[in-house]
């Protein structure tokens, strides 16, 4: 159990900067997810924490101790790799116990702890098998077993689920979450999958080009993205982002999209200027009642495209010429070309500066 504190951390490969001066505090016991597109430096950051890469600059502190100069084995962290990295020439039991044996733990204690870890993960009957005799999900369990058996101070996960099929991925995701609730150890988890990030994290750290773009609780990032990048990365289907103008009228501030005026419930700071309006599908719903609710406004829509998901249907229409997606009840809409009124919840809309693409 330990907190992890990263200060001014950089990693260069020649002239390429993979990580560019990151500051990050991870409290003890927190589940932190590093997420971002490929090449954003999230894996490099994780590997630097593990000690598999040397930091070019800055410090890494685990449990109050600066570990920059410690070898990976002395940092008391455990890591689960994307390709499982099981030792093919050892049985499952030996794989799980490998780290303990390498640390010269007595044989009987190794056996007891391996059994305990196997029991936790439900792989007791696999202990005598070799990795090649296991399915992908079983291999991943063994890899996790190898990590938890050591009771490390910090767990590091490097895209552990990306080699699994969709169903197993869901299953293992809940298992990892349950594991964290059970052992409450600090976990740092790298993924490019925003659903994994949203579902697992106490805190999401969204990275871009070697820097932290935004960090906070999943809902914070989801509801108040600091930039169009964050807005577009989190959420599926994606947020619709369209260019408009922030304007002031007698009735209050509005966003002008072509001829359409969308009134804003509260005035953002600053003058009239070009902005980007971001609307998530769930901010657009079928109109109900004679007038839109407080903070919403009503628009006419001709549905162009319908994507049913069972419980909901995503309907695409054009708002001032830009495609926008609305999340409707499954039976609200039946065929393309249908006309209906849509309420836009402007209170939850995101507004970005058109130049900097940062939130206003």
């Amino acid at each position: 159990m330990a907190q992890v504190r990263i200060a001014g951390l950089s990693k260069h490969y020649g002239s390429f900067e993979a990580v560019r001066g990151i500051d990050l505090d991870i409290p003890d016991g927190e589940f932190t997810v590093l997420v971002g597109p490929s090449g954003c430096g999230k894996s490099t950051l994780l590997r630097t924490i593990a000690g598999l890469e040397e930091a070019s600059d800055g410090t890494i502190e685990i449990g109050g101790e600066i570990v920059n100069d410690l070898r990976p084995r002395d940092r008391d962290v455990a890591m689960v790799f994307q390709d499982y990295a099981l030792y093919p020439h050892m049985t499952v039991a030996r794989n799980i116990g490998f780290g303990l044996r390498a640390r010269k733990m007595p044989r009987a204690e190794v056996a007891a702890r391996v059994d305990e870890a196997a029991r936790m993960l439900g792989i007791t009957r696999l202990l005598d098998r070799y990795p090649r005799q296991l399915s992908g999900g079983q291999r991943q369990r063994v890899a996790i077993g190898r990590a938890i058996v050591r009771s490390p101070r910090v767990f590091l996960f490097d895209e552990p689920l990306s080699n699994l099929d969709a169903q197993l991925r869901d299953e293992m995701r809940s298992e990892i979450k349950r594991l964290h609730q059970e052992i409450a150890t600090t976990m740092i988890y790298v993924t490019h999958d925003q659903i994994e990030a949203m579902t697992l994290a106490d805190r999401i750290v969204l990275m871009r080009d070697g820097l932290i773009e935004q960090q906070g609780s999943p809902l914070e990032l989801f509801e108040r993205p600091v930039s169009t990048f964050v807005a577009g990365f989190l959420g599926s289907p994606r947020m619709s982002i369209m260019p408009g103008t922030l304007a002031r009228t007698g009735a209050g501030p509005v966003i002008r999209l072509g001829e359409t005026l969308l009134p804003l419930p509260r005035a953002p700071a600053g003058d009239e200027r070009p902005v980007l309006l971001g609307l998530r599908p769930e901010h657009l719903t079928r109109a109900q009642g004679p007038a839109p609710a407080e903070g919403s406004c009503r628009v006419e829509a001709v549905i162009e495209l319908i994507q049913p998901t069972g419980s909901r249907s995503y309907a695409t229409f054009r708002l001032a010429g830009e495609p926008v997606m609305a999340e409707l009840q499954a039976h609200d809409v039946s065929r393309p070309g249908e006309r209906m009124e849509i309420d836009v919840n402007m209170a939850r809309a995101s507004i970005f500066d058109a130049g900097t693409e940062r939130a206003i």
């Binding site: 000690g51 070898r71 962290v77 030792y87 780290g99």
Partner: protein, 280 residues
Amino acid sequence: MAAPARRRRRRAPPFARILLLGFFLVFVFVPLYWMFNTSIKPSDDYLAIPPVWFPDAPTLVHYQAALFTYRGLEGLINSLIISLSATVLSALLGTLMAYSLARFNTGGQHLSFWVLSQRFLPPIGIVLPVFLIYRNLGLYDTHLGMIFAYTVFTLPVSVWMMFAYFRQMPRSMEEAALVDGCTRWQAFLRVAVPLAAPGIVAAAVFAFIACWTEFFFALILTSQNAFTLPTVFRAFIGFQGAQYGEAAALAMVSLVPSIALGVLAQRHLVRGLTLGAVRG
């Protein structure tokens, strides 16, 4: 659908297959048999027409002559000492060098190729300087000198084979070992080396066979003391005629270690030579 079709195709031409395999077996084994036969024939039967396929009075005199009169046994022992030592050294050093090249990118992108390129130079280009250096250092006609020469001689190919093997092994297993509690050395010895065993064995077998059959350096760098088996053969073909029986007898003897090694290493060899094709 696919399975029955394949079975039918496999079963289809038994006659042609047997003929082809039979021809190949004859092609391989007749010379071997001829050699074995010659090694136990009395001298008069060597070149008799029609050939004597089954000698009436098999004899071991050629073996006796080859091993003792012509000092074949000494050559055999020298060859075993030199080849085995050079093979072990080449495998040891080669594994370390290859691992270093593959994992730490030692010497940048060109050193690995430079290692291999050492084999591009024809041996004759350096044999005289080596001879002079050896004579001055007292390595001429010594086991040590020959072991050293053969180690250097086989290293490039050993390194290159193992380099290819290490390079296709995922790094993550060793990284897992490092995080798990191993030092670099432990990760190398407990994870990388066991996994690279097929590659190491394949490289060692190649090195051994290269040393075992090497003639040119042995001819120049040895005389009465450290002479190896191949050099003994010179004596059998003289101006008075060829000693077919003795040559055949010694050839039979010299085949034994290679065959034994091949049989022992067979399981590893196949995996080692197919490299990354069969991933666990």
